[in-house]
């Protein structure tokens, strides 16, 4: 029996949580494959097999450098974004503590940055946290007011991985440069959606992940501007100029660079397609669902991110209902988190707990098709209505 196209789409699993994980692009897998068996060398070896691996490593470095407008020797390969951010914050702070002990981050950083900052406090550093406006955008005037002559590092994520708000990175970079303070940005949420340019934005340290550009997991990059110094966190055989020891993960590194290469060529058209999906979802859901709101900035937001909140209901119920219909999404609800705390990002925008609980995050990506967006637009209004019919808060509000 041949299913017609409509039936095929009805059965298709719809994935709208690209922010959490992305499939590796098959073209990336093709480039990686030879490096598992045929070209398996260790770049530290001096023989021919080792030379092939060295060549792959250095070509990959060039491709990543090009992707962010950096020089080859400013790229350090790591095991992923979390390691890169640990190196940038802990490595830089410890190395430069003679200059000062003060670090500034924002309220809407990825949880990893908040936890690294807490660790730095335990080491004796002082951390200031800059508030954001109602859209989750860092207020640069407030950031400036927090800088002291002891400030050595500013870390503000390029864009929020939750609500998709893009930060005024160039403005912060300029301020940091003027004040002679190192500027780190976790660019994971933005990479592949916004052109990254460390020169234009005056970025000194930058966290990148491979999976977020459809490369394999387990690889990342720390961009570090020439002339800056960090203490390595992993000590060993002195790979990556001693900054990150351990035999290089050549298949992974080749994969990440292939992903960056593809992204460099395809990003602009891909982003236009995502914007179409995003704008359609935002338009329909805000129109079709009463008492629904958009979280994050109306225009300064990632092309693939639509983040809603619905009065009177809780996000996990929406997530489970969509799961039943074969649709994968994320929520800002505490009930799906490890700590049972609601999203710190939503709270920072000025929401109270009960509002943060009613949030739903849709992030699209390379392998979505038009019908995926139609599926969620059609189903969300019904799901919200059903959960509201159970909710004491919503009925109370309408009374």
């Amino acid at each position: 029996m041949v299913l017609d196209e409509e039936a095929m789409h009805a059965m298709r699993e719809v994935y709208l949580d690209y922010q959490s994980s992305k499939p590796v692009d098959p073209r990336v897998i093709d480039e990686m494959t030879p490096y598992f068996h045929d070209l398996f060398g260790n770049p530290s070896s001096l023989h021919k097999v080792g030379d092939v691996a060295t060549e792959a490593l250095e070509q990959s470095r060039k491709r990543i450098a090009k992707f962010v407008n950096a020089d080859d020797d400013e790229i350090v390969f790591t095991s992923g974004a979390t390691e890169s951010s640990n190196m940038a914050l802990i490595g830089y702070a410890v190395k430069n503590k003679k200059k000062g002990n003060h670090i500034v981050i924002s309220e809407v950083e990825h949880i990893s940055i908040h936890n690294i900052a807490k660790y730095l406090v335990s080491l004796g550093f002082e951390v200031s946290t800059v508030p954001v406006d109602q859209y989750g955008r860092v207020r640069v005037d407030k950031l400036e007011r927090r800088l002291t002559d002891k400030t050595i590092l500013i870390s503000v994520g390029y864009a929020s991985n939750e609500i998709g708000t893009v930060q005024p990175i160039a403005e912060i970079g300029k301020l940091a440069r003027e004040r002679n303070i190192a500027f780190h940005t976790d660019a994971v949420a933005a990479e592949g959606l916004i052109e990254l340019d460390v020169e234009h934005d005056n970025i000194d340290l930058m966290t990148l992940s491979s999976n977020d550009i459809y490369g394999p997991k387990g690889v990342g990059v720390l961009y570090m501007r020439k002339g800056y110094r960090i203490n390595p966190l992993i000590i060993g055989g002195g790979q990556e100029r001693g900054l990150r020891s351990g035999t290089e993960n050549i298949p992974g590194i080749v994969g990440m660079s292939a992903a960056a290469d593809i992204m460099g060529k395809e990003m602009l058209s891909e982003v236009e397609r995502f914007k179409g999906y995003r704008n359609k979802a935002i338009r329909h859901i805000l129109e079709d669902v009463p008492d629904s709101h958009l979280n994050g900035h109306p225009t300064e937001r990632l092309a693939n991110n639509a983040h809603f909140r619905f009065d009177g209901i809780e996000g996990e119920g929406m997530l489970l209902s969509l799961k039943d219909l074969g649709v994968s999404v994320s929520t800002g609800s505490a009930c799906t988190s490890k700590t049972l705390e609601p999203s710190h990002t939503l709270i920072a925008t000025g929401l109270v707990h009960e509002e943060a609980h009613g949030s739903l995050q849709l992030t699209c990506g390379r392998f979505n098709i038009d019908s995926d967006i139609n599926r969620v637009i059609e189903t969300i209004p019904q799901i919200v209505a059903r959960l509201r019919s159970l909710s004491p808060i919503y009925s109370a509000r309408r009374r």
Binding site: E107, S128, P131, V132, D133, Q134, K142, R145, R146, G312, I313, E314, G315, E316, G317, L319, L320, S321, D324, S333, A334, C335, T336, S337, K338, L340, E341, P342, I347, A348, T349, G350, V352, H353, E354, E355, A356, H357, S389, L390, S391, P392, I393, Y394, S395, R397
Partner: protein, 259 residues
């Protein structure tokens, strides 16, 4: 175990909850419990005849397990005597649902507590006692720490120029009808307006009440402003939720404290 890894039975009660709704009448009592940290609020209604629960209904705001445990609790207690129903525990409810993820056992498994409260309320009612009054007396707004320090730096005693509040998140402390009118007026310019009141309901004219409902002002009931915080200007406030006796920070750009 993932927090959303639910048993088949939990998912069934989430997808097809039993006994959704409310009950009314002299033989009805309602128990309300909630934990805003986890984001759950439950109301369990019982209808009693000859000391036996003849009907039970619920309304729940909460995650999947909150809805499922409410549904199961109302299902379990129908036909029980009040004494029997008092013996129903969270653990009973969880085991009837073939278990809950450990992290959900205490936060979203509150329906048994709501049931017990409903029974207590019913018994009190039968003995002619008024249910204990919830909520607290209105506390004067000037108690807030930082009011004087931030005056002119985000704290306003009156709103003369609404333009000043453009794109700002404003907290208005409920001090009477004038403050409600101000809150409604501010929604025209401001990014967000929160009205804070220590009471359970806002007592005002029907018209103002309707205008408030239609305005988009976020009303926080049973809440008191404790402290204004920020570096050089208002950046956040410390709010006391009187119902839960919990304190939390709310990010705002301005505070309106009218006399």
């Amino acid at each position: 175990m993932k927090s959303t890894q639910y048993s088949k039975k939990v998912l069934d009660h989430f997808r097809n909850p039993r006994n959704v709704g409310t009950l009314e009448g002299d033989d009805v009592a309602v128990g309300k419990v909630g934990n805003p940290v986890c984001g759950d609020l439950m109301e369990v209604f019982i209808k009693v005849k000859d000391d036996r629960i003849v009907d039970a209904k619920f309304k729940t705001f909460g995650c999947g397990s909150a809805i499922a445990t409410s549904s199961m609790t109302t299902e379990l207690v129908k036909g029980m005597t009040l004494d029997q129903a008092m013996q129903v525990t969270r653990e009973n409810v969880a085991s009837e649902l073939e278990g809950l993820p450990p992290i959900k056992m205490h936060c979203s498994n509150l329906a048994a507590d709501a049931l017990h409260e409903a029974i207590k309320k019913y018994r009190a009612k039968m003995q002619g006692e008024e249910a204990p009054e919830e909520g607290a007396e209105a506390a004067p707004a000037e108690c807030a720490i930082g009011k004087d320090e931030y005056l002119g730096k985000g704290v306003y005693l009156a709103v003369t120029n609404p333009e000043e509040f453009k794109e700002k998140r404003v907290l208005v402390v409920h001090t009477g009808d004038k403050s409600i009118e101000t809150a409604i007026q501010l929604t025209e310019n401001s990014g967000r307006v929160v009205l804070l009141t220590p009471d359970m309901e806002i007592e005002t004219s029907k018209k103002l009440r309707d205008d408030l409902d239609a305005s988009g002002v976020k009303v926080l009931y049973q809440s008191k402003l404790l402290e204004i915080r920020g570096q050089d200007e208002v950046e956040k406030v410390l709010v006391h939720n009187l119902n839960e006796d919990e304190k939390y920070e709310l990010f705002v750009d301005a505070v309106v404290l009218m006399e």
